[in-house]
């Protein structure tokens, strides 16, 4: 609930603090009443002995208690519906649509363009223009996952066979963490992603860069990639066009590897390639048998995919 980055999250934070405050007040009040009641009951025992007493009334407690709880609940419900309306729909029409498909255990992210050629595909890293509401179309390729960026807004399930529409807006630039929130099996804990919110101009530049294909390269790394990796991964502009794993065209522009499991650094890449199943057991990527030199070369190659 701290350090929010957008207005939906702000509204949720407000009602969150409001509900928490009411809750704390209620608990403290009740604790006080219980304490008072015990003290009073002890005094009675001391004064009157512990024989069974007549029914001394007390019904008014229930009337007062329920009578006071009711308006509070109504008020909270009304506030809830106001916030629900505010949060369920974006403040202005969305100008950009992003389709996100969850996979066990990573995120495929597709920015729709006006023309098919304007479409870009990335993974585990969402880049947003600050101040612009973005429409999200969420679905899943396998089991139910849940898209959640705690500091930006509500969560939404990603259900196979169903496309759930929601929206997201970052009002302040920054790096935010996203996380799968619906238990989705073995690596649910490590199905994260990053969101960077950048000023609109930077976003346009990023988008232009992402649209560029890579140029085919010669060298050991590229060769190893083609033979060992391209069955599952795409690098646009080269021959690699696999679709089972994340698109790696601009891999080096992403902050993490394997949905937040490792930092995208030289040593991170080496570790991922050297012990894939050790780093993320159960991941859909197998351990690719490479000797050390090949591994170094291919790590360097993907590290160059800016």
């Amino acid at each position: 609930m701290t350090g929010t980055g957008g207005h939906a999250a702000d509204r949720l934070r407000e009602i969150g603090w409001g509900l928490s405050a009411v809750s704390v007040i209620v608990v403290v009040l009740i604790a006080g009443l219980i304490g008072l009641a015990i003290a009073r009951g002890r005094r009675r025992l001391a004064a009157e002995g512990d024989g069974v007493g007549r029914d001394f009334g007390g019904l008014s407690w229930i009337y007062w208690g329920v009578g006071l709880s009711f308006p509070v609940l109504i008020a909270l419900a009304v506030w809830t519906f106001i916030v629900t309306r505010a949060v369920a729909n974006p403040p202005s029409p969305t100008a950009l649509t992003v389709e996100i498909t969850a996979h066990r255990w990573w995120w495929e992210i597709r920015y729709r363009g006006e023309r098919a050629a304007d479409e870009i595909v990335t993974a585990n890293h969402l880049v947003l223009p600050v101040g612009i509401p973005v429409r999200l179309l969420l679905t899943s390729d396998d089991v139910i996952h849940d898209f959640w960026v705690p500091k930006l807004g509500p969560k939404m399930d990603m259900i196979p066979g169903k496309s759930n529409a929601t929206w997201l807006e970052a009002d302040r630039p920054g790096l935010y963490r996203g996380q799968c929130a619906e238990y989705c099996g073995l690596e649910h804990a490590r199905m994260a992603f990053t969101v960077t919110a950048v000023p609109v101009n930077d976003f346009r530049r990023w988008r232009r860069e992402q649209l560029q294909p890579q140029v085919p390269r010669v060298g050991r790394g590229a060769a190893v990639f083609t033979s060992a990796c391209s069955a599952c991964h795409t690098v646009r502009g080269t021959g690699a066009a696999g679709i089972l794993g994340p698109d790696l065209t601009h891999f080096a522009s992403r902050p993490t590897i394997a949905a937040g499991v490792l930092p995208n650094t030289v040593s991170g890449r080496l570790e991922w390639l050297g012990d894939t199943q050790g780093v993320k057991p159960g991941a859909a990527m197998p351990q690719v048998p490479l000797d050390e030199a090949d591994r170094g070369a291919v790590a360097q190659y993907i590290g160059s995919l800016r």
């Binding site: 809750s23 909270l76 089991v143």
Partner: protein, 662 residues
């Protein structure tokens, strides 16, 4: 004769025919007791052990078994807390963690929380209602043996590394064959279907018992609240359990026999599972707290030396909770992308359901405030239930808020909330109830000094373990994660939580010591150590196997407090009334007013419930391993047991004569 005529005015009209009063056969109380002992006692040896249908034995077995599961589930939790005490820990692998949290949830919800209450109710119902047994003693035995068999079935998977790993609500398609190829989820599906039979059988028994098996004069406005709670829970279970059994059956068929109920590729719907599951699940979570709230409503007043404030309101609130409880299941699905308008109705209903809970809370506080408080250990536990219930209640209201639940759902906030509800209202009430009723069950008091330590450890440990979890959820820690990173800001809080869990567990351990020493060397309790108002305190502790030598005649809600309360001239009759010693008999009454209307011949010991349960275990085992042969053998054995059970047998003498002991 005259006493009965006074207490049961309906006698003239309805109470003729078979219930023709005759003078007692053996007016000597000692002789009567011995006769009844012979009639009601179990057969000696193993046959009696496996064949008993005594509700008290069955109740105690239920409680012991569910406590064994509580301890197993608790150990699983402690291992999880060791793993989560620090970031990036590797004590457990993800697969191990996933099995542990799933089995922990399944164990606590299905094998502890409901059965422990069934145990209490089984034990207490006939004693509180003034009856000699439940309506269907053999069915009662059957529901216990089935529960045990289903528990064994679920747990046998654990040492084999194939325990359920889809969480306690097993969302499809994560649990479909494609994504969970092992036997883990088959264990879950079949186990829940298996257990559902036990629950259904037990629930039907409670409902019929309530309708028929009460002392004369025990009209519905005189029932203890725990009876209301268990009755409400039982009726709800009769409606709710079929939903989950069906859901599990369809999942099992999808997984093993190529159906497509949940499979989108075949035109199925993953969300169907969630609807069916929560249609069951939400009423169920009320079913596992309402009887416990009933215990508080009945036992707390004893320690406050006065009747419960607002009996009628509390009884009504109990039923109302359940009625509304059937209309809130969608609040478990706020993030599924269903239309906001539909969700809003369920959000509103979820706010409303707080009202009946408020009735109970204020009734309890008022009872303390206007009572004469004895600071006994049961009192401490019952009073802490009020506070913990309120904490779990307000966090429940927070999750009822549709918009804010979009932040809270599937985080540690929910883990905190559900433990406040389940441990706060169920476990704390149950432990208090054991301090309160163990003297009745065993004839011995539990040590109060040690009891205070138990309370201290449990209360402080519990809050230390679960209060900070709310914060973890608010700052974004998702639930069901086997580890978390050091940079996420979760580490310190998680360490506190884990320490709290161990403090709490220490409390439970001391509690077991407390029970053990009480059973071995506790101070003798006498029939009525607390000065209670209800019928169970009128008979010796532990109660004789036939409960009441003479079926009491009930005239008020507090038969044992009539003189002190002075609420009119009516007096219950405890020492004179129906003496049924002509065989294994008890009295049947009319459903609403509790007027005697028939003498019921009660069945004796039987090995059939045990045999049927073993056969069912074989059947389910065969289905699990996919062996048609084993399944057929088990199924055939089960059918044979049923045929023997229901074989035509001679009906008892057409006209039974009733005797009165005066």
């Amino acid at each position: 004769m005259s006493a009965i005529a006074d207490a049961a005015p309906g006698q003239g009209g309805r109470w003729t025919g078979p219930l023709d009063p005759k003078p007692p056969a053996s007016p000597n109380p000692a002789e009567v007791a011995e006769r009844l002992e012979n009639i009601w006692g179990d057969a000696p040896g193993l046959r009696g052990w496996f064949g008993t249908v005594d509700h008290k034995t069955i109740g105690v077995r239920y409680m012991i078994t569910s406590f064994v599961f509580l301890i197993l589930g608790g150990l699983e939790a402690l291992v999880m807390r060791i793993q989560l005490a620090q970031p990036n820990a590797t004590t457990l692998s993800p697969e191990q963690y996933n099995q542990l949290f799933s089995l922990h949830g399944v164990t606590m919800i299905f094998l502890y929380a409901m059965p422990v209450l069934s145990g209490f109710s089984n034990y207490l119902w006939p004693l509180m209602l003034g009856s000699r047994d439940m309506a269907f003693p053999r069915l009662n035995a059957l529901s216990y043996w089935l529960f045990l068999a289903a528990g064994i079935f679920l747990y046998a998977s654990f040492p084999l590394g194939a325990a359920p790993d889809g969480g306690w609500f097993g969302y499809v398609p994560n649990t479909a064959r494609e994504y969970s190829p092992g036997p883990n989820i088959d264990v879950y599906c079949l186990g829940l279907i298996f257990l559902g039979i036990s629950t259904t059988v037990g629930a039907a028994n409670f409902v019929v018992t309530l309708l028929r098996m009460r002392a004369p004069g025990m009209s519905v406005n005189r029932l203890p609240i725990i009876i209301w709670g268990t009755l409400t829970a039982s009726v709800a279970n009769l409606f709710a359990v079929p939903a989950v059994s069906l859901a599990c059956l369809m999942l099992w068929l999808d997984r093993n026999h190529g159906t497509h109920f949940y499979d989108i590729a075949g035109g199925g719907q993953p969300l169907l599972w969630q609807h069916l599951f929560w249609l069951f699940g939400h009423p169920w979570v009320y079913a596992i707290v309402l009887p416990a709230m009933g215990m508080v409503s009945d036992a707390l007043p004893v320690h406050c030396r006065r009747p419960l404030v607002g009996y009628t309101l509390v009884a009504t609130a109990t039923v109302a909770t359940m009625v509304v409880g059937f209309g809130v299941w969608l609040h478990h699905m706020f993030a599924t992308g269903l239309p906001v308008l539909a969700l809003s109705f369920f959000s509103a209903a979820s706010f409303v359901i707080a009202i009946p809970s408020a009735v109970s809370v204020f009734s309890w506080i008022a009872t303390i405030y206007t009572g004469r408080v004895r600071l006994t250990v049961p009192f401490l536990f019952f009073t802490s239930v009020i506070l913990l219930f309120v904490i779990g209640g307000v966090s429940g209201v927070m999750t009822a808020s549709l918009a804010f639940d979009w932040q809270l759902t599937d985080t540690y906030f929910i883990v905190a909330h559900l433990h406040y509800v389940l441990i706060g209202i169920n476990l704390f009430a149950v432990v208090g109830a054991i301090y309160h009723w163990l003297p009745k069950m065993s004839g011995r008091m539990m040590d109060e000094r040690l009891g205070r330590w138990v309370f201290g450890f449990m209360f402080i440990g519990f809050n230390l373990a679960f209060l900070p979890m709310h914060w973890l959820g608010l700052i974004g820690m998702p639930r069901r994660v086997w580890t978390y990173g050091a940079d996420m800001g979760f580490s310190a809080t998680n360490l506190v939580v884990s320490i709290g869990a161990f403090v709490f567990a220490t409390g439970i351990l001391l509690f077991l010591v407390n029970i053990a020493t009480a059973l071995r060397s506790g101070r003798p309790a006498g029939p009525d150590p607390w000065g209670g108002p209800t019928l169970e305190w009128a008979i010796p502790s532990p109660p004789p196997v036939y409960n009441f030598a003479i079926i009491p005649l009930v005239a008020t809600r507090h038969p044992l407090w009539e003189d002190q309360l002075d609420e009119g001239s009516e007096r219950s009759q405890l020492a004179s009334g129906f003496l049924l010693d002509n065989g294994k008999e008890t009295l049947g009454v009319t459903p609403l007013d509790g007027e005697p209307d028939v003498i019921l011949k009660m069945p004796g010991d039987s090995l059939l419930p045990f045999a049927f349960s073993v056969a069912a275990l074989v059947l389910f085992g065969g289905l699990l391993v996919g062996s048609a042969w084993i399944a057929v053998i088990g199924g055939a054995a089960a059918i044979i047991a049923l045929v023997v059970w229901f074989r035509p047998h001679p009906t008892p003498e057409a006209c039974e004569k009733v005797r009165i002991y005066d």
